[in-house]
Symmetry: C2
Subunit: 135 residues, 2 copies
């Protein structure tokens, strides 16, 4: 078993395939930036480094936020919910939290009339991610 | 197939067992209140009624927030994330969002020294939920 999971039951990684939901919220403005997943290892790495580390379900591996883009999240506080299967991170976000170049992943509002983009794009994703492919 | 899922791909209920994550945030203060799940039917009911309706994974059925406690959430705006598998609800929360009687489910902070309750309990859960069992 994972050491981090056995030393503490909060958060509780024993359900939902060992994953918990992790919400990142701007520590200053209160803007909700994104929601992602953590396994026990990602959570332990977040605690150890002070930077948000998530678990990518699609890639099946840890993912340090900003490892390609430079858009890291410094964690200022962590809160755990009543069921211990979700955490809220108050973070300092460098640049865009969203891989599409927006400050927040929630850059689209759903209205009766359709889906509207309600925030400016801060960076061009093609440039942000391409530069890391050219060492 | 579910009608709601075929008429719109945003949100996208085609992955993760037909569920999306739904974050409720206080529309006035920006406080993150809770995170839960929606299937297409819960989402459609939320749009139709203007009140947050979630899907309970443990009970396997829809759950109108506040149906027992009276602590309903009136939805003021809905945002969808880049992957279309999570929504952010800006809500007006009556009373306590948390079934343990706290305003937010994230009432515990995780620190180096342990887990600390950082918010007052607004209501006694035993009283809130018991009264609905005595018609």
């Amino acid at each position: 078993m994972n050491p981090a999971a056995t030393t503490s039951s909060v958060p509780d990684f024993s359900t939902s395939d060992g994953l918990i939901a992790a919400i990142a919220q701007d520590a200053t403005t209160g803007e909700v930036l994104m929601v992602a997943w953590m396994n026990a290892e990602a959570y332990a790495e977040t605690l150890r480094t002070g930077r948000a580390v998530y678990y990518s379900r699609s890639r099946g591996k840890l993912w340090q936020k900003g490892e390609e883009s430079g858009h890291v999240q410094t964690v200022r506080a962590i809160y755990v919910d009543c069921d211990a299967d979700a955490v809220l991170l108050k973070v300092e976000q460098v640049g865009a939290a969203c891989h599409e170049g927006y400050r927040s992943c929630f850059f689209r509002e759903v209205t009766q009339g359709g889906v509207n983009v309600i925030a400016p794009r801060l960076v061009d994703p093609a440039k942000v991610y391409a530069k890391h492919k050219q060492p």
